[in-house]
């Protein structure tokens, strides 16, 4: 395993050229790219608002009573942040690396492998922010956002996006084939999707499950996003932010190291 400092020294601002390449591809098909994050919350709101919400009524969060839609909306944004980044740097990066040999072509230019990987991570995070922004606009139309604190959605989505982009790249580094992504998706991403305080408060779960839940990065992201959409400055927020920063740093270096192990032979 190469040393972390050596990996970090290989990174340069040229990483943005890879980010720019991905942006150009995205722009060419921007309409189909923006449609899912626009439709997703509308579908969810119909299901949860008209469906689950009718059964649940009001929810207690951080000592405050909120409607189920107000509770679930930031949870949906956090889920979208996670999926956007993870899918971009798992399936998306895998296709570019393995099938299109795009990385090989770029490595014949002054860019280093780490430049390419950081560009991919930055792009994954960008997709998270774009998706969060579109979703927030739709949710705002339902009158579910408190302003101006909801503006925090964007920088927080960037933090979460970087984290999940690094996580997705770790999957790419260890999955031998594209079908193998099913394994980390079902072992890690789906449980996170369901048990991170996204659809219901963690407090309703048994104690051990709450402990596990608070270990998941998505729990902290959902909680931070919820605080911003509800305009709450709760004390749990700073440790959550610190936790996301720490996991971010670990996954970032891990992604670079695992990818170098996979690609450099």
């Amino acid at each position: 395993m190469p040393d972390a400092l050596g990996l970090l020294r290989n990174i340069s601002w040229r990483a943005w050229r890879v980010w720019h390449r991905d942006l150009l591809v995205y722009r060419a098909t921007w309409w189909t790219n923006l449609l899912p994050p626009m439709l997703e919350p509308i579908l969810y709101f119909f299901a949860f608002g008209a469906g689950v919400g009718m059964l649940v009524g009001r929810v207690l969060w951080e000592g405050r009573e909120v409607s189920y839609l107000e509770f679930v909306a930031p949870g949906l944004v956090s889920v979208s942040v996670m999926f956007s980044a993870v899918f971009e740097t798992s399936y998306g990066s895998f296709v570019r690396m393995y099938y299109q040999k795009t990385f090989d072509a770029i490595l014949a230019t002054p860019l280093s492998l780490e430049d390419v990987l950081v560009g991919e991570i930055l792009w994954g995070a960008t997709k998270s922010v774009l998706s969060a922004a579109v979703m927030a606009a739709v949710i705002a139309a339902f009158g579910l956002l408190v302003w101006p604190s909801s503006l925090w959605l964007l920088p927080l989505s960037a933090v979460g996006g970087l984290l999940f982009a690094s996580l997705g790249l770790c999957f790419t580094a260890v999955c031998p084939t594209i079908d193998a992504f099913n394994l980390p998706t079902f072992l890690l991403i789906m449980p996170m999707f369901l048990f991170s305080g996204t659809f219901f408060p963690l407090e309703v779960l048994p104690g051990w499950a709450q402990v596990v839940g608070w270990g998941l990065p998505l729990t902290h992201l959902a909680s931070l996003l919820r605080a911003s959409t509800l305009g709450v400055a709760a004390p749990v927020l700073l440790p959550s932010l610190a936790y996301l920063a720490a996991v971010n740093a670990v996954l970032f270096v891990l992604a670079l190291a695992l990818m170098r192990r996979r690609l450099v032979r």
């Binding site: 050229r17 390449r21 299109q100 795009t102 090989d104 072509a105 014949a108 230019t109 860019l111 450099v264």
Partner: protein, 318 residues
């Protein structure tokens, strides 16, 4: 002289573009490249000739840092490779063996996006891209998608892309493998034009004809080692003969006869190749044909194929 490669440098006085010593690559227990010494002089077109698995691609990949060498030192443009990798890659063009064009972009976009990786500004990049589209006769396909291109057009685009940064050294890894003869000729013509313009070129191939047509100097490679090197005609003179007698459908006794006469010869599959000394070829052919019933006997010029056979004991297309 540590290796035949070094001994055959046609311009030992000029500072080499590539200078490698003891280049060694191991993948697990497999030694892919074994202590290769290599010098590439400015403006020469050096060919690596060898079968698949000879270590040609691995050698090329080590020269631009794509694959780290297990041992050995590499200098490109007089700079240490590991230390100055980015600067070196800025002046190299790479045509890799596998097609790695960006299918998300058009022909022109492929050139522009690749140019941007080199930090080229759009006002320089656009005219350069247009110039290269012209040079490789791709103007008409400017806005075509990659999947709409034939194999030959894709290859030409990969070459255009490798030239976007006006490289001082061009690495071509099997530039025409899998192409039809027409597409191959078109690419050879462009490579010759680049050579005339003074570009230093290093190419790998398993086509004798390609090496003979394009290269000013050829290194014969097999099992990770360079067996000999030099201008194609020198290699032929050294290891084969100006004229070669090639037989197929001959009886076993013909081989014994040739061996008995102590004529240099090789057997390759069902062929018997005899390398008579200068001026003797016609006599040898007549001699054999008068003694044995032979299905097909021809007299032809010696080629790199003969060199390869004599050096390795097996045909290139095994």
């Amino acid at each position: 002289m540590s290796s035949p490669a070094a001994g055959n440098d046609p311009r030992p006085d000029a500072a080499p573009v590539v200078h490698a010593r003891g280049l060694h690559k191991r993948f697990g227990s497999l030694v892919a490249v074994e202590r290769v010494d290599l010098d590439v002089a400015p403006a020469e077109c050096l060919g690596f000739l060898g079968p698949n698995g000879a270590g040609k691609t691995t050698t090329v990949r080590m020269l631009y840092g794509h694959t780290p060498a297990t041992a050995g030192e590499i200098q490109v443009f007089g700079l240490d490779l590991a230390e100055h990798l980015r600067a070196i890659k800025a002046s190299i063009g790479v045509v890799s063996q596998e097609d790695n064009l960006d299918p998300d972009f058009t022909v022109l976009q492929n050139l522009l996006v690749h140019g941007r990786y080199f930090g080229l500004k759009r006002r320089h990049l656009l005219p350069r891209a247009e110039e290269l589209l012209g040079f490789l006769q791709l103007e008409e396909r400017r806005h075509a998608r990659i999947r709409e291109l034939s194999g030959g057009l894709k290859r030409r685009l990969v070459i255009a892309r490798a030239l976007i940064n006006a490289p001082k050294l061009l690495l071509l890894d099997e530039p025409t493998t899998g192409l039809d003869p027409q597409a191959r000729q078109a690419i050879w013509e462009r490579i010759r034009a680049l050579r005339r313009a003074g570009t230093t070129i290093l190419l790998t191939t398993h086509y004798m004809e390609e090496a003979a047509q394009l290269c000013t100097r050829v290194l014969i490679m097999d099992h990770g080692r360079i067996l000999d090197g030099g201008p194609p005609q020198d290699l032929v003179a050294r290891h084969a003969a100006p004229h070669v007698v090639e037989l197929t459908g001959h009886p076993r006794e013909a081989v014994d006869f040739v061996a008995g006469c102590e004529w240099p010869h090789e057997e390759a599959g069902d062929r018997l190749l005899v390398y008579p000394s200068n001026g003797q070829a016609e006599g040898v052919l007549r001699e054999i044909c008068s003694r044995f019933p032979i299905e097909r006997a021809i007299l032809r010029h010696g080629s790199l194929e003969d060199v390869f056979l004599r050096l390795t004991g097996h045909a290139l297309r095994d």
